[in-house]
Symmetry: C2
């Protein structure tokens, strides 16, 4: 009888085409599936909570797969890490779960972190790991404007043209902007996101941070339901998949992080 | 009349042989001197507050040099950054200073950060930028033991055999150990350090963190004045030069960060 496994994974997305297996280059899924096969001699599909794009990183991606081979959780973690070398992918945790667990389909929430380095000098230590913006950003204005996007809306204005989601309606639970020195951090949390939604929201908030837009412009961009009405797609470098939530995890309802009350209307 | 310049520099040390110019490979000093020449057509020597080893990083190295060419501080910073590409070196700040300023000889204090990632899984995002220790570390015991090294001592037990310092006596102003999740951070501050002193102190504190040594063993290692009496040299990966202090900067006297009073005896 096979056992379903849940793994929590960290990876540096810089050298990958993204999560999803590709014929023409390295992917996180491909590396993980190969590592599973090398240690178990079983051919598996590894499903993830989020299919991140090329260059996007993860500190807490969750994935699942089945194994016939009877092994301990520690062995799954250590054997995968051994066979993943020298790829910049690390299995932080492996847990035996019920057969109805599915990293993607039973996931009830996802969190992302977006890192901006707000300074004039180029990135030396964080090259490929943050978005360099040299114009001084007003992170408080960005945070206030971000609250206009909280709640259930038609997010067509923030949706990549290639997005395969059935509906553009999503419920954004959190979009928090804060500053730590020269770093501006944006935390986004929702049950699920449209393709490029976080990066398109960040590109839009950048307009606010630079003083070119205000919160009303963000509301208008949302209401337009048109990709060309919102800001640029922020680069992949600054984006980190940080957490996937499952039934039993604490995933709070939409919160407003600022004085602007969240809109409860759709779109 | 020439102008003396002070620059504050960030670099990823992984791809360099270290700060100092070398004939057989890339160095931070060599890259900076080349960048200065490219923008000014002047041949200069760039002096640094600390001559870091291969693999050691910096978030706030300070260096100085002279230029005949009359330029603004912004121009020095931007031109150097332009000509430094694609090396992982960034000039954060350039300041015109008095001719008696010298990054090394007028420096009155230096700070380092040492990062340990304390977990079982390998490093994906922080490969080359932190020391992975899988055995659980007791950071409180490490901090208590670290206080035994505060003050003026003969640090021969923590001195690399190649160290060129005239005397093994140094005054350690701060050695603080703290934990943020799976990261154990060690901050070291002194007027100056012996070669490998920080890495040798960190390797010794690791013995304490793992429960193999206690604070008295650290005191005994210090008293032995013999390199073989202390712990291993921690890898360069986790070490960051964070700050150089100059007259006028706030560089406090030795502090004790814990309940163990600092020793005032020498050795």
């Amino acid at each position: 009888m096979s056992q379903r496994w849940k793994i929590t994974v960290e990876f540096n997305g810089t050298s990958f085409l993204g999560w999803q297996r590709q014929d023409h280059g390295p992917s996180v899924q491909g590396c993980l599936e190969e590592a599973v096969t090398r240690f178990s001699q079983e051919v598996v599909t590894v499903h993830a909570a989020g299919r991140t794009d090329s260059g996007v990183h993860a500190t807490g991606m969750v994935a699942s797969f089945d194994l016939e081979k009877p092994v301990s959780a520690d062995k799954v973690r250590d054997a995968l890490n051994f066979h993943l070398k020298p790829n910049p992918i690390a299995v932080l945790k492996a847990e035996a779960v019920e057969p109805d667990f599915h990293a993607r389909f039973t996931c009830i929430g996802r969190s992302y972190l977006y890192r901006i380095t707000n300074r004039r000098a180029p990135l030396a230590l964080d090259a490929g790991r943050s978005w360099l913006i040299s114009h001084p950003l007003d992170e408080k204005a960005m945070h206030m404007a971000a609250q206009r996007l909280i709640g259930r809306h038609d997010f067509s204005s923030f949706r990549a043209s290639l997005c395969q989601a059935a509906s553009p309606v999503k419920t954004l639970a959190e979009l928090t902007v804060s500053r730590m020195g020269e770093e501006v951090r944006i935390v986004a949390r929702a049950r699920s996101f449209l393709h490029h939604q976080v990066r398109n929201m960040v590109g839009t908030l950048k307009m606010v941070g630079e003083g070119r837009w205000d919160a009303d412009d963000v509301s208008a961009a949302l209401a337009a339901r048109d990709r060309s009405a919102a800001g640029q797609t922020a680069p992949a470098d600054g984006l980190y998949f940080t957490r996937a939530y499952y039934p039993g995890d604490d995933f709070p309802e939409p919160i407003s992080g600022g004085p602007s009350a969240p809109s409860s209307t759709n779109g």
